[in-house]
Symmetry: C2
Subunit: 115 residues, 2 copies
């Protein structure tokens, strides 16, 4: 799986509020499938699908002991996602005036080189 695909799956996994809640819960401590399901109003099969998506994205690992499955956080892919976002830091730290000035300069430049 390449970088683009990993980012696809990671961001996709993070789009759902139930999945973000599951990750936030796992940040505190490992949990079983039924413990993860308890706070949510949805049925187990839906939770299973969410766990499948989180697993595919590499954000959790699962291990079975007896009949209970322990889910653990494995947040490395989130780091990659965050590093992708970090590129835009300068935009949200720069004042709007400077940003607009920069944009307008670029636009003028672009028009000139077009002709």
């Amino acid at each position: 799986m390449n970088q683009a695909e990993r980012l696809d799956r990671t961001f996709a996994a993070l789009t759902d509020p139930t999945r973000r809640a599951i990750l936030a819960r796992l940040e505190r401590a490992d949990a079983s499938v039924s413990e993860l399901a308890k706070p949510h109003a949805i049925k187990l099969p839906a939770i299973m699908k969410h766990l499948g998506i989180l697993d595919d994205a590499g954000l959790i690992t699962r291990s079975k002991t007896g009949r209970t499955v322990t889910v653990r956080l494995s947040p490395k892919p989130m780091r990659e996602a965050m590093e992708w976002l970090r590129r835009y830091e300068r935009f949200w730290n720069t004042s709007l005036d400077r940003l607009t000035a920069y944009a307008e300069a670029k636009e003028t430049q672009a028009r000139r080189s077009d002709k």
Copy 2:
């Protein structure tokens, strides 16, 4: 729109590689719709949908001058997304954490079996 919805839309917008490429392009300079479309193998209507999704997520703004539309980056929602991810930094940075220790053990194990 509340925080959860904004995160939903932001992460959803970032799942698609075409949209991430568009954002990366806009990071360098503002662009028209057709300029944004040029490097991609898909047709204009598909680009329009991507722009609609980026717009709904608040990641771009569009302004029409004559018949050309200038697209600008508006990355504030990305900051919120990044701040959500920052919570997990300790997991990928703290070597004393038991989960990280577990992950590293797994990795060492994997490397050993790779050789």
